[in-house]
């Protein structure tokens, strides 16, 4: 097992290098002088040509692209992401809190997506061609087709404006928080709407995969054998069907997290959730390249780690994978 994990870890290194290099390349090939993507515009305007040349050399811009990329990676390894143009602060500091906030939103959404997606997928498969299957299929497709920002606006209209049950933006209330318990409950209330909307959006993929996966197993010989042995229906479903149907679904969880992070960009913007996605949008609009690079690197690492965990889980459940 340890060998498998090591091999899998080594495999993700070129993927990480590939992602960061492509993004680095893209930003460096941006029209105009690359110095514009490294230091703020005002600083260039205030400097003499000689000073700019000095900055250029100190940033290593006179070096070839590959060497610059290497230096940037070296800095990155030491936790130095550069300084944000707009916010005049180290990118690493800006990212720190945001990562935790986005993870909190993404994990809550993932739990909701799995709960809804797996349940409806299993029901659809076990009751194939029934009215329930039909209804859930249409519901799933509708969830998948409705843009999360439209659902978010409708939810704010219903639950914040009309019913006044849930807060419509932010992560904390400004007033009326005294105890730790109140603060916790307050954060949960802020989390409910964004996490549910993101989770509903993600659940559609899980539901469709689970349905297909369970149907696949349902008609296999070992299930027929289990039934022929006279096992209880419940035992067949839980022991024989679920166990085997779960495996393909696990890999989808990894891939789906990348989508969930993408969806988080939009949901965070609407609910003013102080996460990475919102930071990324702001960095894009301001053309704040160091900050944007930071967001991309952290996002890519998150997706890589999740895929790694999914593969390891897969190898634990299915020993054949380890010896491939």
């Amino acid at each position: 097992m340890a060998r498998y994990i090591m091999r899998r870890l080594i495999l993700s290194i070129p993927v990480f290098l590939g992602i960061t290099f492509l993004v680095y390349l893209a930003i460096n090939l941006a029209p105009g002088d690359p110095i514009n993507t490294m230091i703020p515009f005002e600083q260039i305007a205030e400097s003499t040509p000689a000073e700019i040349q000095a900055i250029r050399e100190s940033l290593g811009l006179d070096q070839p692209l590959l060497i610059r990329y290497g230096r940037w990676l070296y800095e990155l390894a030491q936790g130095n992401f550069g300084r944000s143009f707009q916010q005049k602060a180290p990118v690493a500091d800006l990212l720190q809190d945001r990562i935790a906030n986005t993870l909190r939103l993404a994990v809550a959404a993932l739990v909701i997506a799995l709960a809804i997606g797996l349940t409806s997928g299993v029901i659809m498969a076990l009751k194939q061609y029934s009215w329930l299957d039909y209804l859930l299929s249409v519901f799933t497709l509708a969830q998948w087709s409705t843009p999360p920002f439209f659902v978010a606006l409708a939810a704010i209209y219903i639950f914040s404006i009309q019913l006044n049950w849930l807060p419509s933006f932010g992560m904390n209330s400004v007033r009326g928080i005294d105890t730790a318990w109140q603060s916790f409950w307050d954060q949960v209330r802020h989390l409910i709407m964004p996490a549910t909307i993101l989770g509903l959006y993600g659940s559609a993929t899980f539901a469709r995969y689970t349905r297909a996966s369970v149907l696949d197993v349902l008609h296999s010989d070992f299930v027929t054998t289990a039934r022929a042995k006279g096992l209880l229906n419940r035992t067949v479903v839980v022991r024989h069907i679920f166990r085997n149907a779960a495996m393909p679904v696990v890999t989808v969880v990894g891939l789906n997290l990348a989508n969930l992070l993408g969806g988080a960009v939009i949901v965070e913007t609407i609910f003013a959730w102080p996460g990475m996605g919102r930071l990324g949008v702001a960095a894009t609009i301001d053309r704040d390249y160091p900050l944007l690079m930071g967001v991309v690197v952290v996002g890519a690492v998150m997706v890589l780690v999740i895929n790694l965990l999914a593969d390891i889980f897969y190898a634990i459940v299915d020993p054949r994978i380890r010896y491939e």
Partner: protein, 315 residues
């Protein structure tokens, strides 16, 4: 039924009688025999939701093509005295902040959605077909390199990388098409590669190769027709996804720029709580337009998949 069987056994020997037997057995079960293509078409036409979806999309395409003739107003023409008016006899769906007719904007925005869907999907399907065919047919080093590339691009958090594109190239409808097109090929590439790997081992391909047919001819004549089904299904769902992505980017202010109307950017204004509460005509119609369009496309995709490729589970 007995009459059919009798007539079948009464005919002369050979292939003909076998055919007739098969036919009569089929008709005994109330089925006729069709070529696979016609059977798929029949099954697709019987898919009720797919037919409803097709009707919606045809209507949308007509709206997009004849937007200038159909829309009651110029979509960017402002009528300040009527700004924010609720739906009425003149402005059927009301007017926005600047007094622009919302119905006309929605009709014109159909153009944006239809063209983003078609162009972005064409870009990445061409890439996916090329890479998938190379990877699956030749295998070896070519395959390894392409598959590692697929791994890398697949682990991109797509929307975040699209942000990099937009930051560099600036927000516009063309850049949205290119960004979606250049980042969405890994899924279909992998799909087509798998399909081609299976086809490559088929006897008829072996036969073609043993008669000395050139690789290019084998790929075009024998391999590509085999991946038409997954291609059609994948591209259909892709159009829905691209329309959704464009709406999302325009909603964030990173896609189609005002005053040009897009369903996504029409929702930007609605982020204001007062408008959300008191002027639902500003945000409900464009939101519904996106949802109905994407849903219709996904229904068509479902119908196509059931008809062409019942085993395929990937979307």
């Amino acid at each position: 039924m007995s009459q059919n069987v009798q007539s079948a056994s009464a005919t002369s020997a050979g292939d003909e009688s076998l055919n007739q037997l098969a036919e009569s057995l089929g008709s005994a079960r109330g089925e006729k025999h069709y070529s696979p293509r016609r059977r798929a078409l029949r099954q697709f036409l019987r898919h009720r939701m797919a037919m409803a979806g097709l009707a919606v999309i045809l209507l949308l395409v007509v709206l997009a093509i004849f937007a200038d003739q159909i829309a009651p107003f110029d979509p960017v023409q402002t009528h300040f005295p009527d700004s924010r008016s609720a739906p009425n006899a003149v402005y059927w769906l009301g007017a926005d902040d600047l007094g622009r007719d919302i119905l006309s904007r929605i009709i014109h925005a159909a153009r944006i959605s239809v063209s983003v869907g078609i162009v972005a999907v064409t870009i990445y399907q061409v890439i996916a077909l090329l890479l998938g065919a190379l990877s699956g047919y030749f295998g070896g080093l070519v395959d390894s390199v392409i598959q590692r590339l697929v791994d890398i691009v697949m682990s991109f958090p797509t929307l975040i990388v699209i942000l990099v594109f937009i930051a560099i190239l600036g927000p516009s409808i063309y850049n949205v098409m290119i960004a979606i097109g250049l980042l969405s090929w890994p899924g279909p590439t992998r799909l087509y590669r798998g399909q081609i790997l299976q086809l490559r081992e088929m006897d008829y391909i072996m036969a073609a190769r043993s008669t000395g047919t050139r690789d290019s001819r084998i790929i075009i004549k024998h391999i590509l027709p085999g991946i038409v089904s997954p291609l059609v299904v994948n591209a259909t769902f892709g159009v829905g996804a691209a329309i959704m992505a464009e709406a999302g980017l325009s909603f964030l202010g990173l896609g189609v720029q005002p005053p040009t109307a897009s369903w996504g950017n029409m929702l930007i204004d609605a982020q204001n709580l007062t408008k959300l509460q008191t002027m639902p005509w500003m945000w409900v119609p464009p939101g519904l337009a996106i949802a109905i369009t994407v849903l219709a496309i996904n229904f068509i995709g479902d119908g196509l998949r059931d008809a062409l490729d019942p085993k395929q589970t990937e979307t």
